[in-house]
């Protein structure tokens, strides 16, 4: 079967063409639906019909709402990441023990990961319902409060509920990553430590945690980025309220764009979140080149 010499990609001298050919559809599609839109939004963010260019960013930095959103986002990222790690690492260490039913426990512990965010919101919105929610009843039973709390009209309470939902939705990812990390630590390390007479907590501090450090680093960045970017949970749960107590940068971007149709202003916020994301992901990639 003689093939045309020029188009025969099986020839050693032509084979690398195939590499480009295979990449072409992806490059084209990515250019069309990711790169081009990104350019459009950067362009939008510097654009305004009546006022001069470069005005959007200036207006943005002068806005009190913007700084409020930054503060909310910062609090959210810090608190949620912290508790996701506490819970994720804790469950991973617990489930990593050898016991009957370990497989089932692993499955259950990571289950919330498989619940769509919107559904998670539905669940917690009902749990924290102000009149018949289980949480109010529980809190009163436990004597923590003496009357029902209206969770979604108090800024602090609403913020707490948002955090709870995000931690519940986010910790399984940490747990999965930590379990994978734990399983990659050679058993010999522990045996050697046991022979040397190290106690359980010493093994945790001197072997487990240091061995997990690379995974912890990557996971931390991924979780923080997820909280930073998340839209659905807050939007469906509180819409950013009450009194903008849960208005993160993502929510503010969306509100400005589709609530007030200030596309330029919204894009300016979006571009700032983009810059933060790019810096964070670059940090992660630099730390672990062959990572996710």
């Amino acid at each position: 079967m003689p093939r045309s010499a020029f188009l025969d990609l099986a020839r050693p001298s032509r084979r690398h063409w195939l590499g480009y050919l295979l990449l072409a559809p992806a490059v084209l599609l990515i250019a069309l639906i990711i790169v081009y839109p990104l350019f459009v939004s950067v362009d939008l963010s510097f654009q305004n019909v009546n006022i001069a260019r470069l005005d959007q960013p200036r207006r943005l930095f002068a806005s009190e709402d913007f700084w409020n959103a930054c503060w909310v986002t910062f609090k959210l990222v810090t608190i949620v990441s912290f508790f996701c790690f506490l819970l994720g690492l804790g469950t991973a260490l617990l489930v990593n023990n050898r016991f009957k039913g370990q497989a089932l426990a692993r499955l259950l512990v990571a289950l919330p990961w498989a619940i769509p965010e919107v559904i998670a919101v539905v669940i917690f919105a009902w749990l924290f319902d102000s009149s018949f929610g289980l949480m109010n009843w529980l809190f009163i039973k436990l004597g923590l409060v003496d009357q029902t709390i209206n969770w979604f009209s108090s800024p602090d309470a609403a913020f707490a509920v948002v955090c709870t939902v995000m931690v519940w939705k986010g910790y399984p990812f940490v747990s999965i990553m930590m379990l994978a990390g734990l399983q990659s630590i050679p058993e010999d390390f522990y045996n050697a430590a046991k022979v040397d007479g190290a106690r359980a907590w010493q093994r945790l501090i001197h072997i487990t945690i240091p061995s997990l450090m690379p995974v912890i680093g990557v996971t931390l960045v991924l979780v923080m980025l997820w909280v930073f970017r998340d839209f659905s949970i807050i939007y469906v749960l509180t819409g950013g309220g009450p009194l903008k107590a849960t208005q993160s940068l993502s929510i503010m971007t969306y509100e400005q764009a589709f609530g007030f149709f200030k596309m330029g202003y919204a894009s300016a916020i979006g571009v700032i979140t983009l810059i933060v994301c790019v810096i964070a992901s670059r940090l992660m990639i630099a730390r672990a080149p062959d990572n996710i």
Binding site: M1, R3, D8, A10, R11, P12, S13, R15
Partner: protein
Amino acid sequence: MAGIRIDSVTKSYGGLTVLKAFSLDIADGEFVVLVGPSGCGKSTMLKILAGLEEASSGTISIGERDVTDLAPGDRDIAMVFQNYALYPHLTVRKNMGFGLKMRGTDAGEIDRRVNDAAKILGIDHLLERRPRALSGGQRQRVALGRAIVREPQAFLMDEPLSNLDAKLRVHTRAEISALHKRLRVTTIYVTHDQTEAMTMADRIVIMKDGVIQQIASPDVMFREPANLFVAGFIGSPGMNFLKAKAETSGAGVAAKLFGHDVRLPVANATALAGKEIVVGLRPEHIAAGPGQVSFPVSPRLIESLGSEQYVYVDLPEEHRREASSGGDDESRRTSLIARLINPEPRPPGETLTLSFDPARLHVFDAASGEAIR
């Protein structure tokens, strides 16, 4: 079947040259082994020959056909890989018939050839299994079978035995040799193991850093190594090397070895006088007891294998070569090994006398490493 001609093939990645002007003529039906340490370019050469990598320059022809830029499938060769590369999703039968199917051979013919090859290799009872259900040795046979059924112009084998355990390796080695005698298909075989090269090859091509060091039959390779590298690589254990200085002595030339003036077996003696040389002596050419040149030693270590003994002796300082950057084994630089066949048991710590025949010595230029004859 056909001969293969490789003419000045080079390969470089960016600035890094891994293969320098490789030329080799392989006769029809010949079994050629490319051998050398890892990174010497032997596998790269095989991949270029197969068409899996592009040569930076040079030409290759199989039979009378220029195949330099032909697709691997159009070269009419078959290849056996180190990890066998069996298709995990196909049965053994389909694995072996895959190449024929790709070439449009009709089903009946494929079946016949697969059955024949399977019978030759004794794997006819495994034909309906998948590779994952086979042992390492069986997989290796299937890989061989996949090459045989194609009845190609040449077999290319890339370290096909290195994933087998020692015993199976020796067994399969003999089998591949027998298969070659039977089929007489031109075979190019790549290995890092000099024993495989010595036992299987019609001709050995020994390589280092992308450069051919010597092309010769196993016997010639052993008796007349072209340079220090070849001398050290071929043989197990490798040749002992002693630094010395050549002095004129009567009509010939001699070197002071272990306190004796030993005449060197070289033809062009006068050119050698006064030169720094390295004298090579094979471990099996050292005998226990007095002989033509005898020297007393107190062994550092004696390893006994029953039928033979390895006696390790610290080399006197004056015979030690300078530590080279080439990664030479440090212990080989500072010690001498004698391989004694059918030895008497020796208690450790006892001094003994070793001897050798000066005619067995090899002489190398210390500066260039080339052999002097």
